[in-house]
Symmetry: C2
Subunit: 161 residues, 2 copies
DNA sequence: TCTGAAAATGAGGCGGC
DNA sequence: GCCGCCTCATTTTCAGA
């Protein structure tokens, strides 16, 4: 009954390998962890059921698909009521160019990661959408000059180019 | 010879589907785009060769694997020479907890995304590694209270929970 | 470039240890 | 909880239009 699942070393190694290559065959994983395919299969099912793996995905190259400009925008709200916070988050989520939105401690309230084609497109986004968000008191935007590191793998530090 | 590859609508749809599910079978993709399996296979090979797909990966749940705390740290350097910038980037890349590092326009120089177990672990990281980076003049850190949106898919806005 | 089909490889299920 | 075998699904290659 009360048997909380805790991944062992083999489970963590499976996660590490799948972070490196989400399509690695079970056979290859099995060789790495010195087991047969069957336990890989059952462990993987368990890891997914327990929510260790959010999803499998293909990471694309934003430059190639017209999203070459990345902006980080700091937002300060006028009012910090629950309603105001929730409204802002709801609006931000709906904007496709906003890839990430975090509520933060510190000098400002929210940090947005925005990816978009170019500065002209950003200008349009700013005029048509961002500047119309009613909860916002101040916004300050910085643009990414270069990406020194971008890594989604917790168990394996790898800088994708 | 000079025949630059430009993805057509079918290619973009394949990318969109693989962003949603990096393990979607070619057969299922084929049904979505009303083609047979063979062209899916060859188009996918081309998209990978041309660098449209960076890689396939499993996105993990950071809370489950002891990386429940996320920090965004703004860094200002003392000196802005090429050497100083490059040294800082090299050092930042080497720190496993630094998942992303960007050189930015604006009021500060770099933005770091740091994921780590908890505040005690952050304290240790700060004392042992971050505060020893010689190029740094100022650092200001904000911690993530909540993640309103986290999306890696450019063609399909989806907020992962 | 596509369709259709064959060959090779991988995934998922079952009994036994 | 693991192994080996079996069956089914998927991937990859190939002939032809």
């Amino acid at each position: 009954m009360n048997n909380p699942f805790r991944p062992d070393k083999t489970d963590l190694e499976i996660l590490r390998l799948l972070e490196q290559d989400g399509r690695m065959p079970h056979k290859v994983i099995a060789q790495h962890v010195h087991k047969s395919i069957t336990p890989i299969h059952s462990r993987l099912a368990k890891l997914q059921n327990e929510g260790y793996i959010r999803r499998f995905t293909a990471l694309l190259n934003p430059r190639k698909i017209g999203r070459g400009l990345t902006a980080y925008t700091q937002v300060i709200l006028k009012v910090h009521s629950q309603e105001s916070l929730e409204n802002f988050m709801k609006q931000a989520e709906k904007i496709n160019e906003v890839m990430e939105c975090y509520h933060l401690t510190g000098a400002f309230d929210f940090l947005l990661r925005i990816t978009i084609r170019d500065m002209d497109a950003y200008n349009e986004l700013l005029l048509k959408k961002l500047s119309n968000l009613p909860e916002v008191a101040q916004m300050q935007t910085s643009f990414v000059i270069s990406e020194a590191k971008y890594n989604t793998a917790y168990f394996y530090s790898r800088s994708d180019e």
